[in-house]
Amino acid sequence: MGSDQSQAVEFERIVKSYNDKPVIRGLSLALPVNRTTAIVGESGSGKSTLLQLINGLIRPDSGSVRLQGKPLDYTRLPGMRRAMGYAVQGAGLFPHLTVRENITLVARLEGWPAGKIAERYNDLLGFFGLEDELSARYPHSLSGGQAQRVGLCRAMMLDPPLLLLDEPFSVWMPSPASPSTRKCCDSRVPATGPSCWSPMI
């Protein structure tokens, strides 16, 4: 597999074990841009591992990960991760921050002007059908579905070219194939990236 800009993510002969138990054995895979890729597998089959190989939370024992043709640079992870939205099962919202603070945290750190933040924020709330009344609330007072959507808003705040979704629909939407999931994954321009979820098997 050569260097290829048309591939959002390329895995090359990835091996990853936990405590000598191999989870991924020599996987080579390319995920094209402008595409939604779903990875399906049983619990413990390595879906989350695969996802975290992409944003560098996990490093392969051997093999390499390439993003848009360039090898993943493990020395500049924070910057690279800001170009990847990340949402997880259970939302993973920070309990000490309000809904608004959760969603806009990284944008504020990036130094976005207030107007731009407000505009993007309001767009996202509207897109996910969240009431503005929720903005000042803390995560503990949200319903499961609301929290999931706030988590997705946070992942999409910077309008990242790549969106990594680790089963974030388990509460909000029972079916991963539902129109809402599609809507979320297709909404961005360019709408690239693997989304990762697994139905109950």
């Binding site: 939370l57 991760r81 800001r82 920070f94 000490h96």
Partner: protein, 495 residues
């Protein structure tokens, strides 16, 4: 969150405020922490004041070795020691204590000097009721050999010390089987007639109070414990002369009388010392009643000690916790070491500080700092480690740098626990700081230590009540701080 640099600057400022200011001609008088020690310290201090010296009092130092180290380090300039104690406990000399010249020869290379004795000999003695003694015709210890029917009861220390009962029985061929008794109860038992003879210190105020007879040590068995001013060789000449004027003025009976005035009549050391100097024609000293100002002064000193120790504890404990928490084995080791520090008994830790830091405020702050380290460090590490791993992963995955993770996610989430740790440390410090009086750091422990030495409940309460009040105040303060800094829903399950 407040700017850490500003906090650091503030803490350093606090530190600068309490660093002792060195006065030029101040003479620091120390004393041991029992009644007679305080009284002699006060007499020496007032004598020096009569001669125009500015005097600082560091009374109630925790024992012989603390006093001695303080003198060697120059933390105090003078205290009253006993020749027998000097020879045995400090110089570790075998056999009978040498005379003054011998002692001076032994301490001169340490830059110390022993002045002429105040006159009395505070040694072990055997005491019995005067009426029994007269009725039985007993005035000397050797007379006891003819009276095996007498009931003897001694303090446990005296029973077991080599220079106590075992040697005494051998020297005087005594066959009696003495019982053990708590020293504090012995006098009462003697007066009530349930025992006939007990051990005493020859200058105890109780001897005067209960009109007890002290039996003559006719074979010279007990070592001599002459009270001598122990000073630094660089002691100002005028000051040495002033103290020399006290030489030979206090005999055993006089000391018993003076002790009685404080322990039994409940008069203050300052008052009794002043009365003594006036009666001896040495001069008139003024004794002011300083109750309120001394409580206030002690409370302020106490607050300074704990606040600085706590601030240092935070300055060290928080960063240390933040540095080590990501590495589990290192974190465990660090918390374990801090825990080890905590197991050193407070008094021992304070005593260990003396060779390094001398006595006074500095070693007390260092010791309190070491104690405050564990709760702060452990809570910081635990709070950071126990944050939901999913949230830690998310914080990393959304592109926060390590610093941003700490600033925006980890520390705010750990804050309630960290505050709880600081709060624990604060309350511990306030309690432990009362012990700092043993090494001359002052604070609310001063009246407590003095009160314990004198069995004076009122004096103990002068320290204990403000200390308790301070602890409650600090609790409330932290509760307020918590309300200001932490959102209510982040406090779930926290007490």
């Amino acid at each position: 969150m407040t700017d850490p640099r500003r906090i650091t600057a503030f803490l350093l400022l606090c530190l600068a405020c309490v660093m002792p200011v060195q006065g030029e001609d101040r003479i620091t008088v120390g004393s041991k922490n029992f009644n007679e020690g305080y009284l002699l310290g006060e007499i020496v201090a007032q004598m020096l004041e009569l001669e125009g010296f500015a005097v600082e009092r560091k009374f109630g130092l925790g024992g012989t070795l603390v006093c001695y180290e303080a003198l060697v380090n120059g933390a105090i300039d003078v205290y009253v020691e006993y020749t027998g104690t000097l020879a045995e406990a400090i110089l570790k000399l075998e056999g009978p204590a040498p005379d003054l010249d011998g002692l001076n020869a032994a301490v001169s290379d340490k830059g110390l000097q022993v002045l002429d004795s105040l006159g009395f000999n505070n040694t072990y003695a055997l005491a019995m009721r005067k009426d029994t003694a007269e009725a039985e015709g007993i005035s000397r210890i050797s007379d006891l050999a003819n009276h095996p029917e007498l009931k003897l009861a001694f303090s446990l220390e005296f029973l077991n010390r080599e220079d106590g009962w075992p040697g005494l029985a051998e020297t005087y061929n005594l066959a009696a089987k003495p019982a053990g008794i708590e020293h504090g109860l012995a006098y009462q038992a003697l007066v009530e007639g349930s025992i006939d003879i007990t051990d005493a210190y020859s200058t105890d105020g109780e001897l005067a109070r209960y009109s007890l007879a002290v039996l003559d040590d006719d074979r010279g068995y007990f070592p001599r414990y002459l009270a001598v001013p122990f000073v630094r060789a660089d002691f100002p000449a005028g000051a040495g002369e002033a103290i020399a004027r006290l030489a030979g003025r206090i005999d055993d009976d006089r000391m018993q009388e003076l002790n009685r005035m404080t322990t039994i009549d409940g008069r203050s050391f300052a008052e009794v010392a002043s009365g003594f100097l006036r009666a001896e024609g040495l001069g008139n000293t003024e004794v002011e009643d300083r109750l309120v100002s001394s409580i206030l002064g002690n409370t302020i000193t106490h607050l300074k000690l704990t606040a600085i120790a706590l601030a240092l504890g935070c300055l060290a404990g928080l960063p240390l916790g933040i540095i080590v928490f990501r590495n589990r084995p290192v974190a465990n080791l660090t918390v374990y070491l801090a825990g080890l520090l905590q197991t050193v008994p407070s008094i021992a830790l304070l005593a260990l500080m003396i060779p390094v830091f001398g006595i006074g405020v500095k070693p007390a702050i260092v010791a309190l700092f070491l104690y405050s380290l564990l709760p702060i460090l452990r809570n910081t590490v635990t709070a950071l480690i126990t944050i939901d791993p999913v949230l830690k992963r998310v914080a990393e995955a959304i592109g926060l740098t390590r610093r941003e993770q700490l600033r925006h996610v980890l520390l705010p989430m750990a804050l309630p626990n960290i505050l709880a740790g600081v709060r624990t440390a604060a309350v511990i410090s306030i309690g432990t700081a009362t012990l700092a009086a043993f090494i001359g750091a002052g604070g609310l422990g001063e009246p407590i230590v003095t009160g314990l030495a004198l069995n004076d409940t009122g004096l103990i309460l002068q320290g204990a009540l403000p200390a308790a009040g301070l602890a409650i105040l600090v609790e409330l303060l932290f509760e307020l701080l918590e309300r200001l800094l932490v959102k209510p829903h982040m406090l779930k399950g926290q007490i």
